[in-house]
């Protein structure tokens, strides 16, 4: 089996971002997608701390400590970008102006329920940030997540075991093994990594999977 690396997962999700889309990239893995937009495609990245049009990390010596993204990394602003306050940033999110929110996850259910803000560890400090606003407000929510935990547990669940971020919000899931759509008929596999068949993928997934007739091999360039 040839699962994707984390950077390959980000690459794969980035390929599906359409020209002209307003996109919010969640903290962590999703943020990497910004590095893999196909050349010539214009996409506007929204950051919930009040930036539209975030660009790549600054060059050495050109860092500006007042310009960060939601993950508190130093970024740049592309031509055409703008600054605004938190209320307008979340007006954009809650008001359905963000075309795609690409988020990380702990678990996703077969109904598209998303759990990505807290585990069941009572000793952990909770934190929610903008996750619930993005999950409830973006026009479309896509998730980028490793298919199984380090312990081998599936992250795609019949019912989430962790507290929800929002019910029924996820439309597409990118994992290191597959690309899966959440549909009214359940989870539909659109792409599978080389060396996997549906039976093997099903063993690593809790809810029932259906294979799309036109399914493809999940591939990404070496990186």
């Amino acid at each position: 089996m040839q699962p994707l690396s984390r950077r390959q997962m980000a690459w794969r999700a980035a390929q599906d971002l359409p020209e002209g889309a307003y996109v919010n990239l969640g903290i962590g893995l999703p943020t990497l997608c910004g590095d893999y937009i196909p050349p010539g495609r214009e996409i506007v990245f929204h950051s919930e701390n009040g930036v539209l049009g975030t660009g790549p990390a600054p060059k050495k010596g050109e860092e500006d400590s007042d310009l960060i993204n939601a993950g508190k990394q130093l970024v740049t602003l592309v031509p055409g970008g703008s600054y605004f306050h938190h209320n307008d940033a979340f007006l954009m999110i809650r008001g359905g102006h963000i075309d795609i929110a690409l988020l990380g996850a702990f678990e996703v259910s077969e109904k598209g329920d998303l759990a990505n803000w807290i585990t069941n560890d009572p000793t952990a400090t909770p934190g929610v940030g903008g996750a619930m606003d993005l999950a409830a407000g973006a026009k479309e929510v896509r998730v980028l997540v490793e298919h199984i935990t380090k312990e081998g547990e599936p992250r795609l669940k019949k019912v989430c075991t962790y507290p929800l971020t929002a019910p029924g919000c996820v439309k597409r899931i990118y994992t290191n093994f597959a690309v899966i759509d959440v549909t009214p008929d359940g989870l539909v596999v659109r792409e599978m990594a080389d060396g996997l068949d549906l039976a093997a993928l099903q063993k690593l997934t809790e809810p029932r999977l259906t294979l799309a007739n036109d399914w493809k091999k999940l591939t990404a360039p070496a990186m």
Binding site: E19, G20, Y22, E42, V44, H46, L52, G53, L77, P79, G80, G81, S82, Y83, F84, D88, F90, L91, M92, I93, R94, G95, G96, H97, I98, G137
Partner: protein, 220 residues
């Protein structure tokens, strides 16, 4: 390449349908998108609901739509603006419906539509005729009226400058309702005096980011 510029007014208003709810920016005739509003006439559409602070000035813009019988209803705060003859004639003849909304409530309802807020409690109009039939509620000892979002099928906006992404800046008090309405409709169309290169508007001073804009047309 993202390019929201369209070549002319016909392209700017293409696709707007009979019965549409049309948000029209401005305050009186200042900041009113007159060219866009009048371009609706050529579409041949009617039964429009116009949302604006006023109900048309003189014989231009909204007033012209009213005079030509295209407007079924006006939602506004103050139809009796400078020279309201078109609205007054239609209203007195019973040819047009009026929903009167306090100016701040109108603005906040538009914001709610743009911001994904399902409803809000305002103290404005509590204890008055304009709250009749609406839910009221005492919160923290004060009486509030529940108001609902007011969403447009289309917003017609007048701005000063734009770039090809649809970022907008305005001039002085011509800002008014325009930035409030831009996020509050399914499609937002802007008439501007000038289109400048991407990156030449100050990112600290952009009032309406392009995310709220679908089409931009230059009208001198």
């Amino acid at each position: 390449m993202i390019d929201k510029r369209v070549p002319d007014l016909a392209a700017a208003v293409a696709g707007i349908k009979n019965g549409a709810t049309v948000l029209c920016g401005g305050f009186g005739a200042v900041g009113e998108p007159i060219a866009l509003t009048e371009a609706l006439l050529d579409l041949g559409i009617r039964d429009l609901t116009i949302v604006a602070n006023n109900a048309g000035t003189g014989e231009i813009g909204i007033a012209r739509l009213i005079n030509e019988g295209r407007v079924r209803k006006v939602i506004c705060s103050y139809p009796r603006t400078t020279d309201p003859r078109a609205f007054e004639a239609a209203y007195k003849a019973g040819r047009i419906e009026l929903e009167l909304v306090p100016q701040g409530t109108l603005s906040e309802r538009l914001r709610a539509a743009g911001a994904g807020i399902g409803g809000f409690y305002t103290p404005t109009a509590a204890g008055t005729r304009l709250a009749e039939g609406k839910e009221t509620r005492v919160l923290d000892g004060k009486t509030y009226v529940l108001e609902k979002p007011l969403k447009g099928d289309v917003a017609l906006i007048a701005a000063y400058k734009s770039d090809r992404w649809g970022n907008l800046v305005y001039r002085k008090s011509a800002r008014s309702f325009n930035p409030v309405m831009a996020p509050a409709a399914d499609m937002t169309v802007v008439q501007v005096k000038m289109i400048v290169d991407l990156g030449s508007l100050d990112p600290e001073a952009i009032v309406t980011p392009g995310i709220f804009v679908d089409r931009v047309v230059m009208v001198r």
